[in-house]
Symmetry: C2
Subunit: 186 residues, 2 copies
């Protein structure tokens, strides 16, 4: 089997298991079973579990970026592009594997004992905030709008995760509309 196929099989299974049950709850043996890759090959492709965790986060970051921007680009006006973020969240929350933001979860579980994980979470959130800031600037909005919209998106994710329902995306979208209108007036 080609190395790249092995890596992708491992990272896909690791992401699913780690995201669904937490990193520390999933042992290497379970990852071996789920990815159908023997421990020997697994350790020939990845130096350690910690390295797999970091690659999983990088992969998840790329998927998030692609998913959000695809949805945003489908919208036409600058205002609708900003609101499209919450439509993406709404769809995500409806997925029954949804269990909150993987970076928040990883940060909560490992951030205080793994500087690398903490840094990945910071980078991910900073990247998203910068993206929102670009969209807000393109809409001609006040600079204060972007952090407000980012906070709404964060809050929607944790609220939906803990409540187990997706309605937070609706509330966040409505709030975002009000904030956008206010930021365009000033």
């Amino acid at each position: 089997m080609v190395d790249e196929q092995v890596r992708e099989r491992v990272l896909e299974a690791a992401d699913r298991l780690y995201y669904g049950r937490g990193v520390q709850s999933v042992g290497m043996d379970e990852l071996r079973l789920a990815s159908r890759v023997s421990l020997k090959v697994l350790y020939s492709e990845f130096p350690s579990k910690a390295a797999i965790v970091l690659e999983v986060l990088d992969r998840r970051h790329a998927l998030w970026d692609a998913g959000v921007s695809e949805r945003v680009e489908r919208a036409t006006t600058p205002r609708e592009k900003l609101l499209a973020i919450y439509d993406y969240l709404s769809d995500w929350f409806a997925d029954d594997t949804f269990r909150g933001c993987g970076f928040i979860n990883a940060f909560a579980e490992l951030g205080s004992i793994s500087p690398d994980v903490a840094q990945r979470a910071r980078d991910h959130k900073a990247g998203f905030q910068a993206y929102v800031a670009r969209l807000a600037a393109a809409a001609g909005a006040d600079a204060s709008l972007a952090p407000q919209l980012s906070i709404l998106a964060e809050g929607a994710q944790t609220t939906a995760a803990i409540a187990g329902t997706g309605e937070a995306a609706i509330h966040a979208r409505r709030a975002a509309g009000i904030l956008i209108d206010a930021a365009m007036r000033s």
Copy 2:
């Protein structure tokens, strides 16, 4: 030593350690050292580590409720009472032990493997949302305001935790003011 003193010493130390480094990263031996309570006495007061975790969450919930409502009651107008939530967050974020919402963290780390922890997190968040709803109703605001303000508070907590700075409270407070004004007009 009186049992109640032992229990409080253990729960205080457990809260500090679990909150600061995560539950699974802190062993019973470290809790014994930090609380200065021997393992024997510890296990005579608590049946298991899992039970301690649940009591820590209950204790933290009570402290949160007391802290928020104390701050809210100091405000005079209904509008300022709603905004006082974010002032409380602002103070909390400035505490250098701040590491996000303990319930979000516990949910992320243990929610998928401990139904009790997941339930505590749900109850905590539902209680806060109900509290915000009462404050919003007292302000005569539209029913859609409360979930919006709750989401802002959630988002501010995770944003501040991961960024390591407290400015999210300022952004959330400003957004809350705009949303309150909009909800009072309609």
